[in-house]
């Protein structure tokens, strides 16, 4: 939801804390579940992630979550899906050039990042998404990358 999304960016610092507090838990849980059930729970887990992040951030499930590096503003809501923004067309009032009724996702991102402890991550170049991952879970991706690295 647009309003909730704006709220999340406004509270990017809190969201970051929440993320750091819950991330080990979520990842631990995911690791346990994937070890026990293999791929059998992928669909419900993906649906849960889509639900939670969809509500908070209007997450588009690109499969390569960048929220912690984009001030808690999901870049996939940018009509041009820019991952290193903003573009040159931001309106004088900070609204999007394509959708004048929406705050530019990247104005929000730089604003959100300014309140985050690790907000400087926004300054690193974020390479284009792997389109094969669209619709897949970033949580499961991270959990599996971790266990692959450990193995």
């Amino acid at each position: 939801m647009y309003k909730v999304r704006l709220w999340s960016v406004k509270h990017s610092r809190g969201m970051e804390r929440l993320y750091h507090a819950t991330n080990p838990l979520v990842l631990g849980l995911m690791r346990g579940l994937t070890r026990l059930f293999g791929h059998r729970l992928d669909r419900p887990i993906t649906a849960l992630e889509a639900g939670v992040k969809g509500f908070l951030f209007d997450c588009k499930m690109c499969g390569d979550c960048a929220l912690s590096k984009t001030g808690m503003s999901c870049p996939m809501n940018c009509p041009k899906t820019i991952r290193n923004g903003p573009c040159g067309g931001v309106r004088e009032n900070g609204m999007c050039e394509v959708k004048p009724e929406m705050r530019c996702v990247w104005v929000a991102a730089w604003d959100g990042a300014s309140r985050m402890q690790h907000g400087d991550a926004i300054k690193n170049v974020n390479f284009a998404v792997d389109h094969r991952r669209k619709g897949t879970s970033s949580w499961l991706k991270l959990a599996r990358e971790d266990s692959d690295a450990a193995a």
Binding site: R83, P86, G88, E92, V98, W110, V125, N126, A128
Partner: protein, 338 residues
Amino acid sequence: MLRPEEAGLNPGDPLPILPGHVSGGRFERVLRAGHFAITTEIAPPDSADPDEVLRRAHLFDGHVDAINATDGSGAHCHMSSLAVCAILTRVGYSPIIQISCRDRNRIAIQGDVLGAAALRVGNVLCLSGDDVSVGDHPEAKPVFDFDSVTLLQTIRTLRDESRFLSGRKLDLPPQMFLGASINPFAPPYANRVDQFAKKVAAGAEFVQSQYCFDLAMARDFMARARDLGLTERCFTLMGVGVLASAKTAKWLRSAIPGVHIPDEVIRRLEQAEKPKAEGRRIAVELMQQLAEIEGINGIHLMAFKQEEFVGEIVKASGVLGSRKPWAPEFPLVPTPSK
């Protein structure tokens, strides 16, 4: 200035790549030699006529160091940037190919970059691009596989690592001078310089800005760019526009998001007896004042529908001193086919 005969080549052939240079183009040589440079924009015709491209380029002879060929600007369909550039290199001009991410994915773009280099195009400007919704084909599918920053990084990979993104090796990498756009005049103002830094980190060696009508903002932006050391790593060409009237100015700032024109400029045009001449005078003054700002290495003069005045404006500004940019020795100016 360097003449192609001195290198013993056909006019369009690349020059030997000098130490510290990345391309065989004249544009990079001018900047690296420490000269103040001028670039301009050619409007690609709505036509399949190559002579029309040459007629439009001829207006700039001896006044500009490189010519940007826009890539479906404003999401409107025109002759492709690659084709315009290829026609220009045949005569020896230094074109800057513009690549927008709107219409092509990473497979098409990497292929086009190799093609452009093979056609002797030595400079590229990486853009995200205008959205299809503002153009004349709003029903088209927007691609946006890349954004301008990842596009820069990709071309740098092709050039410096001599490979595709997939890792597959190139037999000969594209030797191109890498450019990007900046817009210091749109929000988020405080972070515009960070965005500039990101583009430099991704490989930008020169940048061209959106229209600058606000000197205070330009000064402030350049001061921050200097603080971050960006002006040492990247050449900056500030965008200057030629306004035909107060009406066009108002239209520009309301219809084109990201264009900032202060009220004083509009007032000046309104009060002028001859607004068109006043618009040119404003451009001349801006060029002179921008040239004084430390870290600005050139001007990107955008004179849409007023291309015939580019030479006059450049001369009146005096920013080139006694230097005369390259022009074809035997200008190929086909007479208009009416």
